[in-house]
């Protein structure tokens, strides 16, 4: 959840997660089929796909322009023209939800992608080269992980100023650390493996070793971590929106919508319920997907289930 420290946003029972053995990842066994066979994972995938399509096709699906203000038609209930009613400025809630998906999901996915790449790069460097590079990078990671992330986000966005761009920067500046730590752990354990030792003995170059032998070991846990991370990013975005620091109006972003609906909590509870539901559904979708991916990619965890 949003108020928790960074490390708890980790998929806790992930291979490579804190305190769990790190040499779990074998070759990939028909992961897609396994994934689809798990009903929860399949529904997660379905949720993600549907929300993704809603975001992409929002301009076609939305009945109204999400930013058009109609001060005389405010706080209207559900009607043919406004299926989910209107907000405090008479804007169409359904249209705002649909366009909001673009921001909430788009930013979360993009930030996760960037963070994943940065985290892998740092983790590879630290794990592969060890020594001073490792020590320095991991101390930086330690420092970043020593704070509740929400407060760090607030501090960074507070300093840079509000807005989507700065929120994006804050998410990235802070979230790469946990990836780096996980990846480093995987790299270190991969290096100890016989075939890597053998490759070193055969004179493989460092770069080749990294790309050919070590990186593949890192990919599937990171994919799992990333898919679970998207949910965390969506929640973080929502929390920043709650403090008014997220997307700037009239951009329809789910967290911002919730923030503005607070005053109408009792009289118009749907104003908060709809974006709240949208956020929860999206996070749930990504969590189910991530959970399923872990099972699909990690035979041992599947066996355990």
């Amino acid at each position: 959840m949003t108020a928790l420290p960074a490390a708890t946003a980790l998929p806790l029972d992930l291979p490579g997660g804190p305190g769990v053995a790190q040499d779990l990842v074998g070759p990939v066994h028909r992961p897609v089929r396994t994934l689809l066979r798990d009903p929860l994972a399949a529904s997660g995938l379905a949720i993600v796909v549907i929300l993704g399509l809603a975001a992409v096709f929002a301009p076609l699906l939305a009945p109204h322009d999400p930013t058009v203000v109609d001060a005389t038609g405010r706080l209207a209930g559900s009607s043919r023209d406004h299926p989910l009613g209107t907000d405090e400025l008479g804007r169409d809630v359904l249209s705002r939800l649909l366009f909001g998906a673009r921001w909430s999901l788009g930013i979360a996915c993009l930030a996760t992608a960037v963070v994943t790449v940065v985290g892998i790069a740092v983790g590879l460097l630290a794990g592969f080269y060890g020594g001073l590079v490792d020590s320095i990078l991991m101390r930086i990671v330690d420092v970043l992980l020593a704070f509740p992330p929400l407060l760090l986000y607030l501090a960074v966005v507070g300093t840079l100023g509000p807005g989507i761009r700065n929120v994006f920067l804050a998410l990235i500046a802070i979230s790469w650390a946990q990836y780096a730590r996980v990846v480093r752990g995987l790299v270190v354990s991969a290096r100890r493996r016989d075939y890597v030792t053998a490759a070193v003995a055969l004179g493989a170059s460092g770069r080749r070793l990294m790309l050919r032998h070590i990186l593949p070991n890192v990919v599937s846990p990171v994919v799992v971590l990333a898919s679970l991370q998207v949910g965390g990013m969506i929640l973080a975005l929502a929390a920043l929106g709650f403090f008014g620091l997220g997307a700037q109006p009239p951009t329809p972003e789910w967290g911002t919508m919730i923030n503005q609906s607070r005053l109408f909590l009792q009289s118009e509870p749907t104003l908060m319920a709809y974006p709240g539901l949208a956020i929860s559904l999206a996070v749930l979708g990504f969590n189910l997907l991530g959970d399923g991916l872990r099972d699909a990619l990690d035979p041992r965890s599947r066996k355990a289930r």
Binding site: A71, T72, L89, G161, Q248, P249, L263, S267
Partner: protein, 534 residues
């Protein structure tokens, strides 16, 4: 006690009528609240719990405030003169005052007016209070100096500003000038001794302030035994706490939610007359003096003409405000309020002005000039976001791309100081009786705030000269006329401030709360007449 004339809401008028018809005690009527029926007798244990926003002393703007009467209206400390709900001046700690000489006011005290410990208010105490105010908290525009206050005799004090300032009496009803016993330091003492109807019993930072009845009060004794002010930083929980009966009254309810509270059983809404004006301050230049986009008066006028304030007041604010053309409550200009016309809503005129200034558009898009888009940034403080979004939508409709920047207190303050914005939407309160107070504070060339450089028409302009004249206006009529002329210059000619709505102070309360007379200013709320019905 004054009865507010034109501002009564229908609910209030009904209550008042009932009250008069039943011929109840004059005090209950004078309270002006929702007194009605036979249950208007005070209940046995009189406690009022008030939900207010965040603890004003853990203030987000870094100003050290004089507690406990400012900025929270706890009715603990009093000033020499008080501000009536119609912005007239009434005696308070001083029995009377008169101008002696060119620039000296003589205040006469009264032995019967005592501090809460029973000791009388002496001329020494008044002098000590003024000296304290000069040395410690912010004193604004009164030109008081360390030598200003002189004891004439035990019951008489002369006050002479360092520069000619005939507005002194209108200014010193601000709580910053509270009368204290010598040696009192309310900036550092949360339980100061004062002269008001209540005294501080307990203060817990960010939790609550408890005041109890001052049994030695020199004036009409308060009906309440105790008032607990509880701090709720979250607007939503503050309203829910009222709903749940954890507080009896919440102050400063946003207009947008009123419709959702009205008609709820057990809850009533009361409003003051207009006490503040929501407006857009226009940034004309940066702190370095470089002209900004809106230095062009055609653009400022276009911005003003593009905002449909009638729809704003009737729609976004759901009618819980008044359409005004002044930048201060119209009542304070008296008969001269009509001199300020306001820029009328006229989209076509806005478009024409923008075209004329070279900002043209194809179809419904954003206007451009030499390929650059017409962009303005809006900052705001303590204003509901929906109000700002409405302005944004109105500007977009005429082809101005308005970007809203939601800044926290620190960033907002910095933007004001540097001029890194175009429109600043906020809602200043009229907190004293000087009709030129706000104009002098914000737009006058002699104003001390860094922001004045950014928004002021500038020295030598007609507006500026008129403000200087208000400082030496000898009588009320001249003062109000000069202030109205200045405001006309500011609003209609310079378009340096764009009024959006005249706002009431709105309290929502449990219907057992009676006799609350809501003061339109942000600093003069009194609680002595309030009580709880059985």
């Amino acid at each position: 006690m004054s009865i507010r004339p034109a501002h009564l809401t229908s609910r209030r008028s009904r209550a008042l009528t009932t009250c008069l018809v039943l011929g109840l005690a004059a005090t209950a009527c004078g309270g002006g609240g929702g007194s009605s029926g036979g249950s208007a007798e005070p209940a046995a244990k009189q406690e009022l719990r008030v939900g207010v926003a965040a603890d004003p002393w853990i203030d987000d703007e870094g100003d050290r405030k004089r507690r406990p009467n400012y900025p929270l209206n706890a009715d603990v400390c009093e000033t020499l003169v008080r501000l009536g709900t119609d912005y007239s001046l009434e005696p308070m700690v001083a029995k009377s005052w008169e101008l002696v000489g060119d620039n000296t006011y003589r205040f006469t005290l009264d032995k019967a007016r005592t501090f809460s410990d029973g000791s009388p208010v002496t001329a020494e105490a008044v002098k000590a209070s003024i000296d304290y105010t000069v040395a410690k908290p912010s004193i604004g525009f009164s030109f008081l100096g360390p030598e200003s206050a002189k004891v004439v005799d035990d019951q008489t004090v002369d006050v002479t500003p360092t520069k000619p300032n005939l507005r002194l009496v209108e200014q010193i009803n601000h709580p910053t000038y509270a009368v204290l016993p010598p040696g009192e330091d309310p900036l550092n003492d949360p339980k100061p001794t004062c002269t008001g109807p209540f005294q501080v019993a307990d203060y817990a930072a960010q939790q609550q302030l408890v005041v109890t009845r001052n049994d030695n009060y020199w004036g009409e004794k308060p009906k309440l035994d105790k008032i607990t002010f509880r701090f709720f930083p979250d607007d939503a929980t503050r309203l829910l706490a009222l709903q749940n009966g954890e507080v009896d009254l919440v102050t400063d309810v946003p207009q947008g939610v009123l419709s959702t509270l009205e008609g709820r059983p057990g809850t009533k809404i009361e409003k003051s007359p207009v006490g503040s004006v929501l407006m857009a301050y226009v940034a004309r230049r940066t702190d370095a003096g470089v002209p900004k986009l809106l230095d062009d008066v055609r653009l400022r006028r276009a911005v003003a003409a593009s905002i449909d304030t009638k729809t704003f007041v009737g729609g976004v604010l759901a009618g819980n405000a008044e359409k005004v053309s002044t930048v201060a409550p119209p009542a304070i200009l008296g008969d001269f309020a009509d001199m300020v016309k306001g820029v009328p809503y006229d989209k076509a005129e806005a478009g024409r002005l923008l075209d004329e200034a070279g900002w043209t558009r194809q179809g419904e898009g954003v206007r451009t000039k030499d390929g650059a888009p017409l962009e303005v940034s809006i900052i705001f403080s303590r204003v509901d976001l929906s109000n700002v979004e409405f302005v944004q939508a109105q500007l977009r409709a005429v082809g101005i791309d308005a970007k809203i920047k939601q800044l926290d207190a620190g960033a907002y303050r910095k933007a004001l100081d540097t001029g890194d914005y175009d429109l600043d939407i906020s809602q200043p309160n009229q907190n004293d009786a000087n009709p030129a107070f706000l104009m002098a504070l914000r737009w006058y060339s002699q104003a001390t705030s860094k922001n004045a450089k950014i928004i002021a028409p500038g020295a030598g302009t007609k507006f500026d000269d008129l403000i200087t004249q208000t400082l030496s206006a000898k009588d009320d009529t001249t003062l109000r006329r000069t202030a109205a002329e200045a405001m006309h210059e500011l609003v209609d000619v310079e378009v340096g401030g764009i009024p959006l709505s005249g706002n009431y102070r709105i309290y929502a309360m449990n219907d057992k709360v009676r006799g609350v007379q809501i003061h339109p200013s942000g600093t003069n709320q009194r609680w002595a007449s309030a009580f709880m019905a059985k």
